[in-house]
Subunit: 211 residues, 4 copies
DNA sequence: CAATAATCGAGACGGTACGTCACGTCTTCTT
DNA sequence: AAGAAGACGTGACGTACCGTCTCGATTATTG
């Protein structure tokens, strides 16, 4: 991960079409096959049982090729996870805060219930004993979404929908904490209905109006 | 874990004080030394780096003795965790719901910030790829506390403090989800202040009075 | 082995019927069950794969009981072997040397081809890396028979059938070496015919007459 | 053993000098170090006490490398033995049979008395409970020598030195059985004198002339 | 008839080595 | 260079038996 980021950056800088590093270029086919195999196998076995030898074999790639581009299993799984979900789950802006939050939270909870859910839980689980991995996870998955969320919260505060003395971070910890808690630990399934329950409980405490 | 639970059950059934199973009895000294070493080492190295060979060596015990009583590292760590925290963190009853919740949530968040916090996160992390372990964790850690919590919520509903049409499980997912989320994923530290922020946001939505 | 020999000796000395040591006497049933199980399992698995835990389990006996009477697997197997064959295979005396040798060699080679053959080869095999065991084997199996054999050879020398300048030990090494060699290493099966081949080749060199 | 034999065969077939299998080639240095350490340790401790962990450590090699090429301790020791003695102990041809036999038997018995003797007895001992190993031992140690021996016996029969109605296998079982018997079981040491005793006893029965 | 003494079963214990697995690295030839 | 192949040293795994031990129960002799 670290490695390929820097090398990709180098490639981008230099490839004004002609300039590039000597030697055989990186096989994009291999890269994709590795990420695909990783996703497939982590869904099947979970992070713990997953082994890089199997990923390499499954991707028809040599082990050394995996290690050339990712420093360890954790980063690889994280990259595979992000390669699937990175672009999704934006907030709609300019609509009532409840609607915007609800729509995004429902899409998130459905994502958690699907195939990538098992990959996500594997990533967070592994992160509990690998601080660097958790940091990367936060930086590339949690933070981008939170920046957007804070923006719409700020807008809602400006419109007077949300009490502006509240901490946006605390608000989001409460709303999303409920979903993540049920996803990671809870026995109950995530559902659209649960999202509504959460919003019904929490929003009254955030709004300025006395309903 | 599974083994000794069933055997302990057997002991209890048969021990009208005098009856015991034949053969050399299990060494309680070894059992305690193993749990103690496990706690110590998991705090030091985290779950991932922890190895059973080290636990056995540190406890002055043979590897076989560890495997005789615990099927794998995860169960052992879980048992060690529970042996330390199992009896703690009850709710005070007969006082306003906010006070009771606040006191327990603060004690919980302080626990998370302390030494056992790292053991707990290791347990939950490992549980993400071992469903049985997570189930045991829920059964022996989450559920006992939740039963108490539901009882005080029910009392508060009876007293008219909490709207009785709300789902107790959802309420607890919101309140504790925030803490667990910040503990497991969040970048911000847990603090007494955060507990108050959560309660301030959530309780208004739960109460009957419109303040 | 060492233990029970001495204790048996003590028993013999003292049991002029009434005198015996205090405490629960040794269970002869267990002793026999152990030897029987040992024979059965060594035939089935060979010496190497044989384990004392299986012997004890098969004999319905505790492991400690086995170790109380035999110091190790080798001695136990040797004892089991000798308990079956010790009394057999004497030489007939007062008949022509060829007849006496032939009869005993044939009985021996048939014994080798039977069930105890596999036990014997296990014993000798194990003896190759345990000098004490091999010594006991020689003392209790090889030597008693060799003493008899030397006696009939001496008689034959006295009668003038065998050249008396020959070494009886060398004679027996040649005759029986052939059988043991074929038994332990050779690809060819032992047979009565082979015994005759050996005698036909060797006896002319031993006899005084020029046939 | 099985593995490398087949791979060596493959190498031989394909190595018209240039063709070789892909991947990192097997380290010949490791292979030799393992065989050397095996010999050294089996001489020192005997087969039974020998453990593969020690061999690997002594050879500065990983345990996995040992297991990659030899399926078990027995095959490894056998290979080590053969790597030392395989090329030795031929018969001289075109001389009187007695001389040829005597020279080879004396060299053999001296070999048995030396350092490799303990390895050989370990190999034969282990072979008693592992038929495949004994078969390999016969194929690679016994048979090649026996083929030569039969050739010189046949020549001697053609020359009229040996009675041609005798079975060469039986002759060799008698001659070499005596040596192996004394080596494996006998209490007496092997010596040049013993070889002469054996030949003096056996040859008269084999020869055509009446001396 | 109690006290003493040894054996018995069951089975837990500290050990040692097993043979396996995956790690991450390295060496070779090919693309 | 990058890639596939695959051998390498390393280290932990979980297992199997080792030979010893601690129990309560049993079976004898002795006082």
């Amino acid at each position: 991960m670290y490695v390929n980021v820097s090398k990709m950056a180098f490639d981008m800088l230099t490839s004004t079409k002609e300039l590039r590093r000597p030697g055989r270029p990186r096989s994009d086919q291999s890269r994709k096959a590795i990420l695909k195999s990783t996703l497939k196998l982590v869904e099947k076995y979970g992070f713990h049982e997953l082994c890089i030898e199997d990923i390499a074999a499954n991707a028809g790639v040599s082990k050394a090729t995996v290690y050339r581009w990712w420093p360890n299993k954790a980063e690889l799984v994280l990259d595979a996870f992000l390669s699937v979900v990175e672009a999704e789950l934006h907030f709609e802006r300019g609509i009532p805060i409840r609607n915007s939050l609800r729509a995004q939270m429902i899409r998130l909870s459905r994502l958690f219930s699907g195939k990538v859910g098992s990959v996500l839980s594997a990533v967070i689980g592994a992160g509990q004993s690998e601080p660097e991995m958790l940091a990367t996870f936060r930086r590339r998955w949690i933070e981008p979404r939170r920046i957007e969320a804070k923006a719409i919260l700020r807008e809602a505060m400006d419109r007077g929908e949300i009490r502006s003395e509240l901490s946006p971070d605390a608000i989001l910890d409460v709303l999303y904490g409920a979903i993540y808690f049920r996803f990671l630990i809870g026995r109950d399934k995530l559902s659209d209905k649960f999202v509504d329950e959460v919003l019904n409980m929490v929003l009254p405490g955030l709004t300025t109006e006395k309903s």
